[in-house]
């Protein structure tokens, strides 16, 4: 028996386990779970505990290092499922699919997969993007304060403490990013700090740089989602709405919206009948 997740079928608890496990695998570049991005193409589970998952990406030429991280992280979290007897993760339609899939099947690791193209490991790459994600989270929180009180002196944002942030999505996201960098989480900790916890010398310039980072991540996240939808029609059904950086055009395909045009069409059809 093969069960496919995504469709509510009775007895899909193991497939649901798989989905839940995959939800902790992040696209480091976009700072989002691969399950929200629609990167999980299919999940199949058999009675013996065999799992086969296929991943898909927005283009064939997405960076192979990120592609490898997401596929190998997926294999790791699935292998950790207590009932999983065998795990196959395949990356579909990528220029490096053959190499990555062969490396994963052989548990060859990063260096075993990429050979001479790999030097040490991908830890520095992960760290670069953990820092960027933190920088963007700081900017969202501080810009929110600035928009709420535009007359505020930008310089004073250097004095904002965690306790000064209103509870909400952006604050929660900041706390998660801080935890990932092992930065303090107590109320008195300053918000505008770098990855090491150090405050900037020039507050307005630091905020400006953080803003360009946030714009970049939000822009990339939406562009990648859009390319996935173009490449795999119907994949919008597997994407979770991203509020940060969303635009009017997103209403056209976002399944969480109920576009008025759809309602009108339905009415017209009913009238015709």
């Amino acid at each position: 028996m093969t069960l496919t997740a995504g469709r509510p079928v009775v007895g899909t608890s193991r497939a649901a386990d798989v989905r839940r496990a995959l939800a902790v695998v992040m696209d480091p570049e976009l700072d989002e779970p691969i399950t929200d991005l629609g990167f999980v193409r299919s999940v199949a589970v058999d009675e013996a505990g065999g799992v086969e998952v296929h991943l898909r990406l927005p283009t064939s030429f997405c960076s192979p290092n990120f592609a490898y991280l997401m596929t190998s992280d997926s294999k790791d979290v699935l292998t950790a499922l207590p009932w999983a007897s065998s795990v196959v993760v395949q990356l579909d339609d990528h220029h490096d699919s053959d190499r990555i899939n062969a490396g994963l099947a052989a548990d060859a690791g990063y260096r075993g997969t990429f050979g001479q193209e790999a030097e040490q490991d991908l830890e520095e790459l992960r760290e670069t993007f953990r820092r960027k994600a933190h920088t963007a989270a700081v900017e969202r929180c501080l810009t929110e304060l600035l928009r709420a009180r535009p007359e505020r002196d930008v310089e004073s944002l250097g004095d904002v403490r965690l306790a000064d942030l209103a509870p909400g999505q952006h604050t929660e996201a900041l706390l998660r990013r801080r935890a990932a960098l092992a930065l303090p989480l107590d109320d008195t900790a300053p918000v505008l700090v770098d990855h090491a916890g150090d405050p900037p010398q020039d507050v307005p310039l630091a905020l400006r740089r953080a803003r360009s980072t946030r714009i970049s991540i939000d822009g990339n996240a939406h562009f990648c989602r859009g390319l996935l939808r173009t490449r795999y029609p119907g994949s919008e059904q597997d994407q979770v709405h991203r509020a940060d950086g969303s635009e009017a055009a997103d209403e056209a395909y976002d399944p969480t919206f109920i576009p008025l045009t759809t309602l009108k069409t339905t009415q017209t059809e009913e009238t015709d009948r």
């Binding site: 960076s63 290092n65 790999a118 040490q120 810009t143 930008v154 390319l227 950086g245």
Partner: protein, 350 residues
């Protein structure tokens, strides 16, 4: 030239191609994937009325290019920026003979830039000399993710790349267009990082480094190095079409660029045939920063004129009618070029 509301815009399309991705030229699956990827970019970001069929997208030819750019597209001058991709396409992706012949027939309208690959070593240096003479090169387009045997990328600060830049200097090839791509050895680090551009720009201050796609997907890294170097510029290839589907994102890109690199260092391009210039120019002239993005000052007509053509014309010594010229802005050589144009602290004053 494009005219609207009594204003005239001299247009330079600083990044165009004459490519061939028809089946007979495709060498392997990567060649197919490459053009498929381009087509998805095209289909995803174009207005519905501007989407081509896949068949039309594979190859345009010189006649269609001339029509799309100069008859329909308002372009006064366009610059070929060819990608070689010899590992993916039998005769390469950018069509050297056809594009350079077209440029030779229309020197007033077209400039042909060529490319080099430092992994070709000494022989490549000789080839660059020959190419400079054959094409009268003023510029080159470098794609750092080009595959080459077992290698899948190179960096601008590789020692051999410096030999090529030294030769560029000697040959008067002053305009270095760079497209960062995703596969560079080692894979350990972010391949889109533009730090190598920073090194090369610092060591070759007499060359212009135009970072295509304004460093996307790493706008922040690009802005940070570009603001510190007087000779780093931003090309808007691929960034332009976001104006249609993601106008807020585009507004923020332009707002950040004006803040960090200023109005004299940004160049328009359609990235033809990824997109066609006509709708991009029409929409850009009408474009304005959304009112609620109060951290950015509104775009001025002068800024639009510079971006759409005057900046690239200056870099390439392209003759601009006297009435359409504009003076350089009073911007510092380095550091945020227009801090007052993008300052959230000024929101209170808006």
């Amino acid at each position: 030239m494009y005219s609207k509301d009594g204003e005239n815009y001299f247009i330079v399309d600083a990044h165009v191609a004459l490519w061939d991705a028809r089946p007979e030229n495709i060498r392997n699956v990567q060649g197919q994937q490459f053009i498929d990827c381009f087509y998805d970019y095209h289909a995803n970001l174009s207005p519905e009325s501007e989407v081509w069929s896949k068949e039309a997208y594979l190859y345009q030819g010189g006649e269609r290019l001339m029509k799309d750019l100069f008859e329909d597209g308002y372009v006064d001058h366009a610059i070929f920026q060819p990608a070689h991709l010899g590992e993916f396409y039998h005769r390469g992706f950018g069509q050297t003979d056809e594009a350079s012949a077209l440029a030779a027939r229309h020197p007033d309208k077209l400039t042909y830039n060529h490319n080099f690959d430092p992994r070709n070593g000494e022989a490549g240096l000789d080839q660059l000399r020959a190419d400079a003479e054959r094409f009268g090169l003023k510029g080159v387009k470098l794609y750092t993710a080009e595959w080459h045997g077992a290698s899948r990328g190179w960096r601008l600060d590789d020692p051999m790349a410096y030999r090529y830049f030294e030769l560029c200097r000697e040959l008067g090839i002053t305009n270095i267009h760079i497209h960062k791509g995703p596969t560079i050895r080692p894979l350990d680090r972010d391949a889109f990082d533009v730090a190598d551009v920073d090194h090369a720009a610092t060591d070759f201050t007499d060359l212009n480094f135009v970072v295509e796609h304004v460093g996307l997907p790493r706008l922040e890294d690009f802005c940070w190095i570009a603001t510190q170097e007087p000779n780093v510029h931003g090309g808007l290839a691929v960034a332009m079409p976001f104006m249609h589907t993601r106008p807020r994102y585009f507004a923020q890109i332009i707002g950040e660029l004006l803040y960090w690199i200023g109005e004299d260092r940004i160049q328009f391009s359609s990235d033809y045939a990824l997109w066609t210039p006509r709708w991009l120019i029409e929409q850009f002239v009408d474009f304005q920063i959304p009112e609620d993005l109060t951290e950015y000052a509104p775009l001025t007509t002068a800024q639009k004129k510079k971006i759409l053509g005057l900046n690239a014309a200056k870099m390439y010594d392209i003759e601009v009618p006297a009435a359409l010229r504009l003076p350089a802005a009073d911007e510092p050589v380095t550091g945020p070029r227009q801090p007052e144009a993008a300052d959230l602290g000024a929101m209170a004053a808006v």
